[in-house]
């Protein structure tokens, strides 16, 4: 078996991204991807053992980087905390509820028993994002803008509330993707519930 090269790996990822974008995950096949790059099926499988792994590799990293960047922008010193959270929630949910990110997420859950996709997605996306949000909330609590509570729990409550009106529908494929403008109501209501739940009173 030939040695793997980074340039070949990148070429495969590039081709796969195109195919997934054009026909979607379900209809894409390893053969389609192989046709774009040439070479044998064995070579392709040598780099990526399954379509699922390849898809995860292509989509997950892009989304994860975007979500972390959005979370990183949270400013604990913002004068208007509600505005800050609504702005964050809107941007975060727009990426998280894009068609690609939803497909990756469903796949991570569906495949979690048979591969390490679920674990990777948890360790590389869920945990770092929760940590960033918790750190933001810790600072906000410290300056007295929210009641003192466990920032980690508060972070999970906030993230879960943002999804509360949509998660089931999306995971069950009742809706394929959510338009950004449809998200704004759900985000504002979630932020309200979070703030009422965590404000000093």
């Amino acid at each position: 078996m030939k040695t793997k090269t980074e340039s070949k790996r990148q070429a495969i990822l590039q081709a796969a991204a195109e195919v997934f974008r054009e026909v979607g995950f379900d209809r894409a096949s390893m053969s389609d991807i192989r046709e774009r790059i040439g070479g044998s099926k064995a070579t392709l499988y040598n780099y990526f053992p399954s379509k699922e792994k390849l898809f995860f590799e292509v989509m997950h990293h892009a989304k994860e980087a975007e979500l972390e960047a959005i979370t990183g922008e949270l400013n604990a010193d913002a004068d208007d905390l509600k505005r800050e959270l609504v702005h964050f929630g809107q941007k975060f949910m727009t990426v998280l509820y894009s068609a690609d990110a939803i497909a990756v997420r469903r796949l991570a859950i569906a495949e979690s028993r048979h591969s390490d996709i679920g674990k990777l997605s948890f360790e590389q996306a869920t945990v770092p994002i929760e940590k960033q949000v918790a750190e933001f909330l810790r600072k906000v609590m410290k300056r007295g803008a929210l009641r003192t509570a466990d920032p980690k729990t508060a972070a999970m409550h906030l993230l879960s509330l943002l999804e509360s009106e949509l998660l089931q529908r999306v995971l069950l494929g009742v809706i394929e993707a959510v338009k950004p403008e449809s998200l704004s109501g759900a985000v504002r209501r979630a932020v309200d519930v979070f703030l009422f739940g965590y404000e000093r009173r």
Binding site: E111, H157, S164, A190, V193
Partner: protein, 222 residues
């Protein structure tokens, strides 16, 4: 139990076992008939399609659990916090059991592929509206402020699951949480929920700004 009921029960039990072992595509109505005995016509007289049978048997345990539990949820008592806390702990214990986590995973995995997503969603919405009814009673009696009870049920559900469910679904964690862990998670969730929906708190919909008068979109029109 009538003869027809016990037949139906036998179908559900066998189908449940086969679907869990072989998945949706790997299980045929013929497989199920050969396990239960009888004819395919009998099977179809109970369940018009494999999709409906799949959804029925996957949701059966959760539906039984919910109808039992909600019977005991008493909104007339003066301590809604304790009632909600106990309810929350009990729900978490149930949905975090390895079997229910597996059911949920299978449901999500098959939803898009087999076109059962809508059937599952309708069942889940019906269960949610039972919780909404309880919250509506709490709102009517002044224990919670008046708001959209369906929305409140979504928020309560999200808060309850927030700390526990994802690592289980993603198989990062296998062991179900113990009673102490679920009780803590439920306590924190209910505390945040009751503050947010306290009788003195502003209405979520009014507080939500200029578009707050826009009702939430119906389930399938997003």
């Amino acid at each position: 139990m009538s003869k027809s009921d016990s037949k139906r029960q036998a179908i559900l039990e066998n189908a449940y076992r086969l679907f869990r072992a072989q998945g949706f595509d790997g299980t045929s109505m013929a497989d199920i008939t050969s396990q239960v005995g009888g004819s395919k016509a009998t099977l179809y007289s109970h369940f018009p399609s494999k999709e409906e049978l799949f959804v029925e048997c996957m949701m059966a345990a959760l539906e039984d659990y919910m109808s039992d539990t909600l019977k005991h949820l008493d909104a007339s008592r003066n301590d809604p916090e304790a009632a909600l806390r106990n309810f929350g702990t009990s729900v978490l214990n149930f949905i975090c059991s390895p079997e229910q986590v597996e059911v949920r995973r299978l449901m999500i995995a098959e939803a898009a592929r087999s076109g059962t997503g809508k059937l599952f969603f309708d069942k889940i919405s019906a269960l949610r509206s039972q919780i909404s009814s309880f919250l509506a009673v709490c709102m009517a009696s002044g224990l919670l402020h008046r708001d959209d009870p369906d929305l409140a049920a979504d928020h309560l559900g999200a808060l309850l699951e927030a700390e526990i469910l994802e690592p289980l679904l993603l198989h990062v964690r296998e062991a179900a949480p113990d009673e102490e862990e679920t009780a803590h998670a439920a306590r924190r969730a209910v505390a945040a929920f009751l503050r947010a929906y306290a009788p003195t708190a502003p209405s979520i919909k009014v507080a939500a700004g200029p578009n707050a008068h826009v009702r939430r979109l119906p389930p399938h029109e997003l």
